[in-house]
Subunit: 215 residues, 2 copies
């Protein structure tokens, strides 16, 4: 996978892979469970994963109020957020042309804490992104839980999107040779739900989990 | 997923999840296809995905010499590299305790270009990380290909590792209630190889690809 290229949102090197469709961006954001945040802490760049959700033109990022990295993000420091999906392995006839099928979004901006009055709705979006349908099945969050959780909002307005979904592009001399070329698809599979050891007898698997597991 | 916590490599918030076993780190690095790099470009943190491989105590990162972000990394700028695997969804009785099973490594340091005399071996490691067994099946890289490819090496010496693999930890009052709790496993599935449209007749699927697809 080539890295993204421009310091901000204009991709220079592999222009044919850059996409400007907001709809394609939203599809990626809505189908991916984890993002990676870059932020500068004490002069040192830090990359870390975290759960997220999209709410219209906002990316919601979830964290604990006990995390120094998240507190730096919450303080309005510039951040970059990468959302990446791997769709396959491109097996070219040469090592050089071998690569990955991917969808890669990089967003830029500064995040702010979601106001108290919007926090319950934002947490529901995050729960729904993880387990669709779950927020209606669980009890409301307690005040203690709300205080311990930080939800940050990043505007979705500065972003780049690259999609690699083509066949290998071998040189003519390699195509004429004996080498194989193709694509090996990668998928995420959701397994059967495993009940917790302390689950009381007679409690059925909820609809959200059945839907997630496809069972 | 809670974000990692300390500015550098000491995790403060969820100490029970932090691991110090280098073997567990290597297992994660050796089984994950893509990392996310954080670097500061023109004063702005950037997060981007790229392919990588481990070679002993070195993380090899792959990029194009045409990428400004990779050139910044190659110049010795401080970087952070996140390597993340998602293993499942933790469905707790409350939204608050619901989370992810994950393995999350964050490395820190500065990368340097691999010397010319080591570049072929380093590229082979990267090819092997993507498609095990492939490097022996393809022709050697040409001089032009070597010049167009940058391989950077980051020492694996400053890192943190967090592993979340437990059951939901609901409060006693929730455990006594009617809510379901458990874990939904996530796996990566490798599909059947798809031949390229320009593949000549009679060229068999190579062993590396058969092994990758499990076919």
């Amino acid at each position: 996978m080539p890295s993204s290229d421009a310091p901000r949102t204009q991709i220079t090197r592999i222009a044919e892979k850059q996409r400007h469709d907001r709809e394609l961006l939203d599809q990626l954001l809505d189908s991916t469970r984890v993002c990676h945040v870059a932020v500068v802490v004490d002069g040192q760049p830090v990359a870390f994963p975290t759960a997220f959700a999209r709410d219209g033109d906002t990316l919601l990022i979830h964290g604990s109020t006990g995390s120094p990295w998240m507190r730096t993000v919450a303080g309005g420091a510039p951040i970059s957020v990468a959302v990446t999906a791997l769709d396959g392995i491109v097996v070219a006839r040469s090592a050089f042309e071998s690569s990955l099928h991917y969808r890669s979004a990089v967003l830029f901006g500064s995040a702010a804490r979601v106001p108290d009055e919007d926090q319950v709705a934002a947490l529901d979006r995050l729960t729904e992104a993880l387990i669709p349908g779950r927020s209606a099945e669980v009890r409301p969050s307690t005040r203690r839980e709300l205080v311990a959780t930080m939800v940050l909002a990043l505007p979705i307005d500065r972003w780049s999107l690259k999609i690699s979904d083509g066949w290998p592009e071998d040189e003519a001399a390699d195509v004429a040779g004996d080498g194989w070329a193709g694509v090996v698809p990668l998928h995420e599979t959701v397994g059967a739900a495993l009940p917790a050891p302390d689950l009381r007898d007679g409690i059925p698997v909820p609809r959200s989990v059945r839907t997630l597991s496809g069972s």
